[in-house]
């Protein structure tokens, strides 16, 4: 995956002469493909904006930071403030959903919990599930894809059929039924920890064929490159060729499709929570909040808007960053 050097052509061309001349000046350092990609990414303002939001979300979800922010700007996510709720309608007292200095995003109808804190803790859940599920998909997908692409033949046929089977799986129905069967305690996990584990497994384990196919295709073309033959003619073993020669060339597509898979998984988690098979109440999750809001949107429209916006901004930021990363790394270029 040679990055097109035209982008930085002038500087690159000048270097060998500078070194050959050996003119006492400090030799210009060569740039790796990673450095060139970073330079290109830095110039992409939209992608950098996305990256900034993603970074902010990650920092917000770090252990300790969430609690600190919640304490400073809101109140604990599960604390009821029924004095702030209109007893007859159930909606929050005050304009714009009860937005005040104590509750920057307003308060929840009926129970009067602080929305800001619930969004914060919901972000942690969404990110954790999105990232962990992506990790599972990427690891399985990369290993399966690289093996299928490199070895070919019946290995490829078996893995390709397996991918077809996984892609044909009715994932949502499976998730709903699986959550129903799983006991309350399993593998030393209980409650919402177990739920999150189950969600990561379902989302991650059934999404690997997407990345697996991409990696398989890339490996198929890389396998035919002469540097693979060169390594083999020097006596390299298959493991060396796979992990030292081929895999480093797959870093770009893996990174790009990971960043594009995370928002998909966040959406999927939100959808499952919306359907009631995600994170159990009272723990907050964005999908669960939207689900609760469907009955109350007439009295408290902000209850739909706030978690909806949170999902929208997160997914958009990841997608913009992923697109920018793809342009910067240009995995489609030779």
């Amino acid at each position: 995956m040679t990055a097109p050097i035209e982008a930085t052509g002038a500087e690159q061309q000048a270097q060998p002469d500078a070194v050959l001349a050996g003119s006492g000046r400090k030799a210009i350092q060569g740039r790796s493909l990673g450095q060139i990609a970073w330079m290109r990414l830095k110039r992409d303002k939209v992608a950098m904006g996305g990256a900034l939001v993603v970074l902010l979300l990650i920092v917000m979800s770090l252990p300790g930071v969430t609690e600190l922010l919640s304490r400073t700007f809101g109140s604990p996510p599960n604390q009821f403030h029924q004095n702030l709720v209109d007893p007859t309608l159930g909606g929050p007292i005050g304009s714009l959903g009860g937005i005040s200095a104590d509750h920057p995003f307003g308060i929840e109808p009926i129970n009067g919990r602080d929305l800001f804190s619930r969004i914060l803790f919901g972000a942690r859940v969404s990110l954790l599930i999105g990232v962990l599920a992506t990790l599972v998909s990427v690891v399985i997908g990369t290993v399966m894809g690289i093996i299928a692409g490199y070895f070919g033949g019946w290995v490829d046929t078996v893995i390709a059929r397996l991918m077809d089977i996984f892609l044909a799986f009715p994932l949502v129905l499976f998730a709903i039924s699986l959550v129903g069967v799983i006991p309350n305690k399993m593998l030393g996990l209980a409650g919402n920890d177990l739920r999150m584990g189950v969600l990561v497994f379902i989302i991650g384990f059934f999404n690997w064929p997407y990345i697996g196919r991409i990696i398989r295709g890339q490996t198929l073309s890389l396998r035919e490159r002469e540097f693979v033959d060169a390594a083999r003619s020097m006596g390299a073993r298959n493991t060396h060729i796979l992990f030292k020669e081929v895999l480093p060339n797959l870093v770009a597509p893996i990174l790009v499709y990971s960043t594009l898979l995370i928002p998909t998984n966040i959406l999927f988690e939100a959808a499952l929570s919306f359907l009631g098979v995600g994170i159990n109440p009272p723990d907050p999750s964005w999908g669960g909040m939207l689900s609760a809001a469907t009955e109350l949107y007439t009295v408290a429209p902000h209850f739909v808007i706030v978690p909806g916006l949170a999902i929208f901004i997160t997914v958009l930021a990841f997608n913009l960053f992923g697109d920018g990363l793809r342009d910067a790394l240009d995995p489609r270029a030779r």
Partner: protein, 372 residues
């Protein structure tokens, strides 16, 4: 890059062809790629990419392997390197049969047997530094170098005319010619005895071709290398080779010393090839008659019977369609597989008459009838 010698002209001094021991011997080597079709993936046909080639390479000499695209030159080279498994035949390297040798037993032998690749843009891993690429042979073969791998790599870079400071650079920072030099440095790392060069210059600019070809020649003198150079450029082959083998559709049709071949080509196909070489001088261009071959190269899926060239040969007779001409030595060191060779004092008709009279039953599979 001080060498400015023009690659297209013949070398001024003819190198003394060493009559040393045979380093590589290829006997009736073939590669058939199966073609599968249908639900059960049954084999319905085979692409006969290489169909029984025999030649040998002596220590210190350069054998040129020429032919047009798809004639099996590269496949032959890759089989010698054991990057492809031969379908039949025998490869002997330094007296050892390596045809069916397992990759693990082959590994130590690979030090002596290396390859230069065709495309310098594809033969260097874009994610590795030059140091890692050129140093890879040392690491893969677990060879200890006196002053460490880095020093050895920098010496190699100097040997091929690059700066040792290029050690930490990435391949994308280099031009095609420089990249090919990096590839050559990697090939030389283990001090191989035989180098198979698969179209070493065809991906390069003509001006850079000369540099790389001259580099290969200098290195041969310096390091006592033996080359098998695969090329389709007749000028390059003429410049670099001691002996030349001409291939057509998976078979060798003519083998001869370089000068012999270029001055007295015997096989009609060789004649046609040589007449296609462009002549830069318009005055000289006037008098020469070009042989224009009719039609395309037949499909290697179903090559013509007997002499494979008979479908396009202007001298073809009935015998060419029924009997395969053996690769016979018609003059010292000049082997031709043709019933009606040109430029020969030896009465070709004798050979033809002989084979015509001899009953077909005694006609052994011809490729093995090799005269040394």
């Amino acid at each position: 890059m001080s060498t400015t010698d023009n690659a297209t002209g013949p070398t001024a001094t003819d190198r003394v062809i060493p009559q040393g021991e045979v380093l590589l011997d290829v006997d009736n080597l073939g590669k058939h790629f199966p073609v599968h079709a249908g639900l059960l993936r049954r084999q319905v046909a085979a692409v006969k990419a290489v169909d029984g080639v025999s030649f040998s390479v002596r220590k210190g000499e350069t054998l040129g392997l020429v032919g047009e695209s798809g004639c099996g030159k590269s496949t032959t080279g890759r089989m010698i390197m054991r990057l492809l498994d031969p379908s039949f035949g025998k490869i002997t390297f330094e007296g050892e049969d390596i045809t069916r040798m397992s990759q693990s037993r082959l590994r130590p032998l690979r030090r002596d047997l290396q390859m230069i690749f065709q495309d310098p843009y594809s033969s260097l891993n874009p994610r590795q530094t030059v140091g890692a690429i050129v140093g890879a042979p040392f690491r893969l073969q677990k060879i200890q170098t006196e002053n460490g791998v880095k020093k050895a790599v920098q010496e190699l870079l100097e040997l091929v005319g690059l700066s040792p400071e290029h050690y930490n650079r990435y391949p994308h920072e280099f031009s095609g010619g420089q990249r090919q030099r990096i590839g050559i440095a990697r090939t030389l790392a283990l001090k191989p005895k035989l180098i198979v060069a698969d179209e070493p210059v065809s991906a390069l600019d003509v001006s850079v071709q000369a540099q790389v070809v001259n580099l290969l020649e200098d290195l041969q003198d310096e390091l006592d290398l033996t080359y098998v150079v695969i090329a389709h450029d007749l000028s390059v082959v003429r410049h670099i080779s001691d002996r030349v083998a001409v291939m057509y559709l998976g078979k060798i049709v003519e083998v001869a010393d370089r000068n012999d071949l270029y001055e007295r080509p015997m096989h009609p196909y060789t004649n046609a090839l040589l007449s296609a070489v462009p002549v830069p001088d318009p005055a000289k261009r006037e008098g020469r008659d070009r042989i224009r071959l009719q039609g395309d190269v037949p499909s290697p899926l179903d090559p013509p019977p007997a002499c494979r060239f008979h479908t396009r040969c202007w001298k073809a007779q009935e015998i060419c369609k029924t009997q395969e001409p053996p690769l016979a030595e018609l003059s010292p060191g000049h082997q031709v597989a043709c019933h009606f060779p040109e430029n020969t004092t030896v009465s070709a008709t004798d050979a033809v008459a002989q084979s015509a009279v001899s009953p077909p039953a005694t006609d052994l599979p011809t490729p093995s009838l090799r005269k040394e």
